[in-house]
């Protein structure tokens, strides 16, 4: 450690140097001299750099010291700070120029100082500072071998439970839990009531309440045989697949729009949701689902159906929210890759890999090089492609297989449309030609702007439709007084002519445009207001003037002293004869004939347009495509450099594509990556010996059924996560899961058939004192229903819940789900009142349903492994006052009054519908006091149901 004496010496040197600078401003020392360093370099280092880059700084920035010659040459995180003689390879120079990073952060140094540094390095970076480098900053290197000793990176170990089967135990799960309970002397709760057990099962497996018929069937025979039968029925149901798909959608941060800065519609995201529902319905092995989600596009396939699912599954990689309008596309790409790595890390590995983007992971054995080994894979993958508008990126899309008939239909439709459209264009042209005859354009003499003589700068334009010739010109509302345009004509006969000017009128035009007319009587000046026209569509009369055939008739527009755009399109000279023709077109045979031609052309055009309309009505669905990645073209596939401190332009060593060293038994780099390496990554993740993937997944499943994970931090199995409460049980379940072919349903069966799953959630003082957090599962955790289940249960109570899946929810939306002008409201589409299951409601980022949000639905901006459960007034207010919930309460009350006759039957029915049990004596007593005046009052029943909906029992699983 340097002493404060050292510091004082720097300080005095600095002061001296500053003094020298002040007194000898113009002295020029040779750049290689010690004086140059002392006068120009050291003071700057002391003043601007030592605060963070000297051995006595509070915190060393980037592990870099600049307080000795050796330290500068050794460098920090970014390598050596300077390369003597090599200005452009010296990171220090790039940093003070603000080209790589921005140093010093308080403000850029003056250019003259930067030049001093350049000269100093060019001349060899003479540095007389003889202070030995302070004991080098401790840069803890991650010890991978030591990291592997951590429990989560240890191989799965399969052990049978040790204790003898005991009374009430229904298998290994109970044996493992029982062992710990016995050791701790905690006695487990008794079995819960039959009603509660069925309610628990139905919500856990299907997300829906058990129907009244099922309640009755179960209560008639609450045996284990009947239980297992009901479990199997539920696992085979559509409700099961939807509910468990929703669990994975939380992890996949599923949404139907981008949110963020540019709320682009994810038109195709629903296909991924649909893939999940079908995958859980068919109990697709989870390792296959991982392979499909990471690298489905690279997997072999035999049928279109397989190919379809393989491609759609990769939407998983695309669903994150992105800053699509980021103009620095290199940065955007790194941010997208980061989001993908972070998602994969937490979803499959339970590791927070995002931490290693900027520095070695501070807690887990994940060095930055591992992160960039993965980053190379995703940088070699096309996620974003093209722009939907200037600066705004959009994503890659991949065609999905469909039938040849479908393709043919689309082809046929497109060909037919194209041909019709070309016929229509033709017909429009014919009509225009026919109409041209009646136009006054051809009457008299017309001089177009292209024939006029211009001074100053006139801009050509076709912006405002409706003009003579191929366009018009304007003065760009600038160079006032310097721009004129002169239309010159030779009239055939001496006499009076009406003069007209053509321009497109608009409120941004000049209101007083000076026009001079050179007549045979001399020059006359008039002004015209270009904000309007006299004669549709674009003419304005200047008046009638005498012209002679011997001298040119000249009309000149100027922008002198004008207050808006000045437009010039054409000038027309009309004789008395021309005017007569113009005003009496019908008296002309030729005109009549033209009229007939026009009518014929009009009816032909109308017929074609009708045909097009009919054709459009029969448009086949567009060819299906997926929001999906592809590999980059081979030459663009490459390994990634480390981006030091995560900075876009701060490159370190290039890292071969690969995986995490700590969970790889052998070499973590991919020897010969196939394409981007995603397929290799998928294989690595699904290796049966992978220590994390199966553990993380079975732990999520356990949490959904048992209230907490065996590792309660379900998305974090690292150092900062919790340790498993029952490591042997976790490994037992994970091993069985992998051995059984990664099937979810057998795992679910094992858990819901265990005695532990059936325990009452009741409080017990002794057990609670011994294990207040219930980590031993002496009771069932009391759990909050997910938002979707609360809503679905209300709809189920009304009797109107539709079980039809909904598809393509964003079909009616354009590129943007809501405009960026801040006035847009069209994004507010929650469809919350639609009586579908909640999984089919569109998830529009930025416009989430307030009801679902209040009930703690997953925030699609984040990966949510375990939903938070909040108890806040906002939630209570929604349950009390949301109009939809009030409506559902009313419908349920009406149903109860309709379907049951007397008071007691109604009370029974309303409890079975809302709480899936019969009322207790206490409930009946409360009802008696409430329904004092009128037991037939619909309002009273509505109030009763509304209160049940808002009560704790409705939304909790006891």
């Amino acid at each position: 450690m340097p002493t404060s004496r050292h510091f004082l010496r720097y300080l005095s040197a600095c002061l001296l140097a500053l003094l020298c600078q002040a007194t000898q401003t113009m002295a020029s020392e040779p750049a290689e001299s010690v004086e140059f360093f002392e006068n120009r370099i050291r003071p700057v280092l002391v003043e601007h750099c030592y605060e963070c880059h000297a051995a006595d700084a509070d915190e060393i920035g980037g592990s870099l010291l600049l307080d000795s010659s050796d330290a500068m040459l050794t460098g920090g995180d970014s390598g050596p700070a300077i390369q003597p003689g090599e200005v452009e390879s010296s990171p220090l120079v790039l940093a003070i120029r603000y080209e790589s990073t921005e140093m010093p952060p308080t403000g850029k140094l003056p250019d003259s100082v930067i030049r001093d540094f350049e000269e100093w390095i060019a001349a060899g970076a003479t540095d007389p500072r003889d202070t030995p480098p302070a004991a080098s900053v401790p840069r803890e290197k991650i010890d991978i071998e030591e990291g592997r000793q951590f429990w989560a990176f240890q191989p799965l170990s399969f052990t049978e439970p040790e204790i003898e089967p005991y009374e009430g135990s229904r298998g290994p799960i109970d044996q493992f839990l029982g062992q710990r309970l016995q050791e701790s002397g905690v006695s487990p709760n008794a079995q819960s009531s039959d009603e509660l057990r069925l309610r628990r099962l139905a919500f856990d497996l299907t997300g829906l309440p058990p129907s009244i018929e099922l309640q009755q069937r179960w209560m008639a025979d609450p045996s284990w045989e009947n239980w297992e039968r009901i479990v199997d029925e539920m696992l085979d149901s559509q409700g099961f697949a939807e509910h468990w798909a929703r669990h994975w959608m939380d992890v996949a941060r599923y949404a139907d729009s981008n949110g963020s800065d540019f709320n682009a519609t994810f038109h195709e995201a629903w296909r991924y949701r649909d893939y999940l529902v079908r995958s859980f319905a068919s109990d697709r092995p989870f390792d296959q689902m991982i392979r499909q989600q990471i690298a489905g596009d690279q997997l072999p396939f035999e049928t279109d159906e397989q190919r379809h699912d393989n491609l759609v599954a990769t939407t998983f990689l695309m669903l994150g929210t992105k800053m699509l309008s980021e103009r620095d596309k290199t940065k955007l790409e790194l941010d997208v890759v980061d989001e993908q790595i972070d998602t994969i890390g937490r979803a499959f590995l339970g590791l927070t890999l995002g931490c290693a983007r900027c520095h070695d992971h501070k807690f887990d054995p994940v060095p930055t090089t591992d992160y960039y080994a993965l980053a190379g894979i995703f940088k070699s993958t096309v996620t974003l492609k093209g722009e939907s508008q200037r600066y705004v990126s959009t994503w890659n899309r991949v065609s999905l297989p469909t039938t040849e008939e479908h393709r043919a239909a689309v082809r046929e439709y497109e060909a037919a449309t194209k041909s019709l459209k070309s016929d229509i264009a033709e017909a429009e042209k014919s009509l225009k030609d026919a109409e041209a005859g009646t136009s006054d354009v051809q009457l008299g003499i017309v001089i177009d702007d292209t024939q006029a003589t211009k001074t100053g700068t006139w801009k050509e334009s076709t912006y405002t439709k409706g003009f003579i010739g191929k366009g018009y010109v304007h003065d760009d509302n600038s160079q006032k007084g310097k721009t004129t345009i002169q239309f010159s004509a030779e009239v055939p006969d001496d006499g009076k002519y009406e003069v007209r000017v053509a321009y497109s009128a608009n409120t941004n035009r000049a209101s007083k445009v000076p026009v001079t007319i050179e007549t045979s009587d001399g020059t006359q000046t008039v002004t015209i207001n270009q904000q309007k026209n006299d004669i549709a569509p674009f003419w304005t009369t200047l008046g009638t003037f005498e012209f002679s055939s011997s001298s040119p008739a000249v009309v000149t527009l100027s922008n002198r002293e004008t207050n808006g755009y000045v437009i010039a399109d054409a000038v027309q000279f009309l004789s008395a004869d021309d005017l007569h023709k113009l005003n009496h077109p019908d008296q002309d045979d030729a005109s009549k004939a033209k009229r007939a031609r026009i009518e014929a052309a009009q009816s032909h055009l109308a017929a074609l347009k009708t045909q097009l309309k009919e054709l459009t009505a029969q448009k086949p669905p567009p060819l299906p495509q997926a929001m999906a990645p592809t590999d980059r073209a081979t030459p663009k596939i490459s390994d990634s450099p480390v981006h030091i401190r995560g900075e876009v332009n701060n490159h370190g060593q290039v890292v071969p594509r690969g995986f995490l060293q700590v969970c790889s038994s052998g070499e973590a780099a991919i020897p010969n990556p196939r394409g981007s390496g995603r397929l290799d990554l998928a294989d690595w993740l699904t290796d049966p010996d992978h220590p994390l993937v199966a553990r993380v997944f079975v732990n999520r499943v356990w949490m959904h059924l048992m209230g907490e994970g065996l590792v309660r931090t379900v998305d974090n199995f690292g150092e900062r996560g919790e340790r498993p409460s029952h490591p042997e049980l976790l490994d037992y379940l994970a091993t069985q899961f992998v051995r059984g072919g990664w099937h979810l349903k057998p795992l679910l069966r094992d858990i819901v058939n265990s005695a532990a799953y059936h325990r009452a959630s009741d409080y017990n003082a002794a057990s609670s004192d011994a294990d207040p957090e219930n980590r031993l599962w002496w009771r069932m955790h009391r759990r909050r229903l997910p938002a979707e289940s609360i809503r679905d249960a209300m709809l189920a109570a009304t009797g109107t819940l539709s079980r039809t899946p909904l598809f393509d929810p964003m079909k009616s939306h354009g590129v943007l789900v809501s405009g960026n002008d801040g006035n847009s409201t069209e994004g507010k589409i929650t469809g919350i009142a639609t009586p579908c299951r909640s999984i089919y409601l569109p998830i529009v980022r930025g416009f989430l349903s307030p009801m679902m949000t209040a009930l703690d639905a997953a925030d699609p901006d984040l990966l949510v492994g375990r939903r938070p459960t909040t108890n806040v007034p906002g939630q209570a207010l929604v349950l009390l006052n949301a109009p939809e919930i009030n409506q559902w309460a009313n419908t349920t009350a009406d149903r109860v009054m309709r379907d049951a006759e007397d008071f007691e039957a109604r009370l029974n029915l309303v409890y079975q519908l809302c709480l899936q049990r019969l009322p207790t004596e206490d409930d009946k007593q409360l009802a008696k006091t409430f329904f004092t005046d009128d037991r037939q009052s619909p309002e009273a029943w509505q109030q009763w149901v509304a209160a049940l909906f808002a009560g704790t029992e409705f939304r909790l699983l006891d």
Partner: protein, 490 residues
């Protein structure tokens, strides 16, 4: 039991000929004959998604108890609450608070140094039409664009050397509101709510008036991974005051009916609690229902603008069409501040984005906001709230001193001004400098992270010690950055 027998999907995706079809074709009962001939393609029986009329954003999770995470405070507080007047879109600093004589001199000339990347503007300097003059005793430069704020110049503390990340709105709006230009992070108000809790037992700590639905929308006042209660309760949207009420506070039924319902729910919950024994979840829900009931009562008074005198309403411009909405928002902000709400954002709506028609657009926006802001300043002083309120005025970035198109300015995160006011900061003071034309922040640069660190510091919070552990890491509002700008503190 049919429900449980009905198998879904996997084997449904075939038509009668046994051919596999993509799901949307099957599920729409489309093409069952295997024929795709034109004319048979009309999709029947498919119910397109209905577009529900929007509700505004939920008040969810809005009331914290009055205790915050930071106690005791890290440093002596200089203010107890913040009113952030968010000028969304990015007002031009060189036309308001950053006087640049050379810009007037060199109007129309090329910019004498390089533009940052990704800018559309042509490097030709554009001087605005508004005159600058020295105001008040302090002589602070303010332009004619904001005459009423200019009158309050001796109360303002201008940071002229702001810079931030994000060339586009999305990123920069994220920076100013959450400290992150790309990742999902808690908003400043959520951090303050988390740190300090609410100053009112029955009202939320964090309220956003007229927040934008675009550029991240709710993310800009959201809680991200902080507990959901710290998300702002939204009043109105997109710069509009709307009904000026907390959503769902009242239902369709009359108040008597709701009180009866709350009472019935309470009795049902008691029965449940009685059966379960002690249980945090049930007790929490019971407590939340009580809080909701009390919040209804408290909010009824605080949100009732009729309790303000006509003179006060007039001072805020509520009687004039141009200033009504922003005036109502500012007045409500004062009422909320008075009641103990910690962090109130009043958004102008995304109106300050003058890529063209700078003059007309800025005049219009100034007209709508300038008078109410000045009224708020005077009102806070008059009510003795000046010393412990921090006002922050500004956009997500400034605008370029060079012209875009014929008569606009592009985004400028490289250098711009923000204004602070209140007892905590030096009055009539300007800090930092941009270059001669106002493009780049040059001297005493203040990054958005520094501003955030300073705001927290003023509230008594050390930005390096206010952390929240999420996904295995301790997060901060200022990430790994931030310097308290001591130089502007009073």
């Amino acid at each position: 039991m049919n429900r449980y027998r009905r198998r879904v999907v996997s084997n449904e995706s075939r038509d009668v000929t046994g051919q596999w079809l993509p799901p949307e074709l099957t599920r729409r009962q489309f093409g069952v004959t295997g024929s795709f001939a034109l004319g048979s393609l009309a999709i029947s029986g498919f119910v397109p998604w209905t577009t529900a009329k929007a509700e505004s954003r939920s008040p969810s999770d809005s009331v914290s108890d009055s205790a915050g995470a930071v106690r005791p405070l890290h440093v002596p507080p200089r203010a107890r609450r913040v009113i952030f007047l968010f000028m969304h879109g990015g007002p031009s600093h060189v036309d308001t608070f950053d006087y640049k004589p050379l810009l007037a001199r060199d109007d129309g000339k090329p910019l004498p140094f390089a533009l940052p990347p990704n800018i559309d503007a042509v490097p030709k300097l554009l001087n605005g039409p508004w005159n600058f003059s020295k105001r008040g005793e302090s002589g602070l430069w303010v332009s004619d664009l904001l005459p009423h704020m200019a009158e309050q110049a001796d109360s303002l503390c201008v940071i002229r050397s702001m810079h931030t990340k994000g060339q586009s709105h999305g990123q920069a709006v994220g920076m100013v509101n959450t400290g992150s230009d790309n990742l999902v992070r808690p908003s400043v108000g959520a951090w303050v709510s988390y740190a300090l809790g609410s100053g009112h037992p029955d009202l939320p700590a964090h309220i956003a008036i007229g927040p934008a639905t675009a550029h991240g929308g709710p993310r800009n006042y959201g809680a991200a991974f902080l507990p959901a209660m710290h998300q702002a309760t939204a009043i109105g949207s997109n710069g509009r005051f709307g009904s000026g009420k907390i959503p769902y506070l009242d239902g369709a039924s009359d108040p008597q009916n709701i009180r009866q319902r709350i009472d019935l729910v309470r009795q049902m919950n008691e029965l449940h609690h009685h059966r379960s024994g002690p249980d945090r979840e049930i007790e929490g829900a019971i407590e939340a229902m009580d809080l909701a009931s009390r919040m209804r009562e408290a909010a009824r008074e605080v949100f009732d603008m009729n309790l303000e005198s006509s003179a006060t309403q007039a001072a805020y411009g509520i009687h004039e069409k141009a200033t009504r909405s922003f005036g109502q928002s500012c007045l409500l902000a004062r009422r909320l501040a008075e009641a103990g709400v910690r962090f109130i954002t009043v958004s102008s709506g995304q109106v300050w984005d003058q890529h063209s028609n700078l003059v007309a657009g800025h005049n219009k926006n100034a007209l709508a906001t300038d008078l109410p802001i000045a009224a708020l300043i005077k009102d806070l002083k008059q009510r003795g709230m000046w010393d412990d309120t921090l006002i922050v005025w500004g956009g997500e970035f400034g605008r370029t001193p060079v012209v875009q198109g014929a008569n606009g300015r592009d985004h400028n995160p490289q250098g711009f001004s923000m204004v602070l006011a209140g007892g905590a900061v030096k009055p009539g003071f300007a800090y930092g400098k941009t270059d001669d034309y106002g493009y780049y922040s040059l001297h005493d640069r203040v990054h958005m992270h520094d501003l955030h660190a300073t705001i927290l510091h003023i509230l008594g919070i050390d930005h390096e010690r206010l952390t929240y552990r999420y996904a295995g890491r301790d997060f901060r509002l200022t990430d790994v950055h931030g310097r308290v700008v001591e130089e502007i503190l009073a």
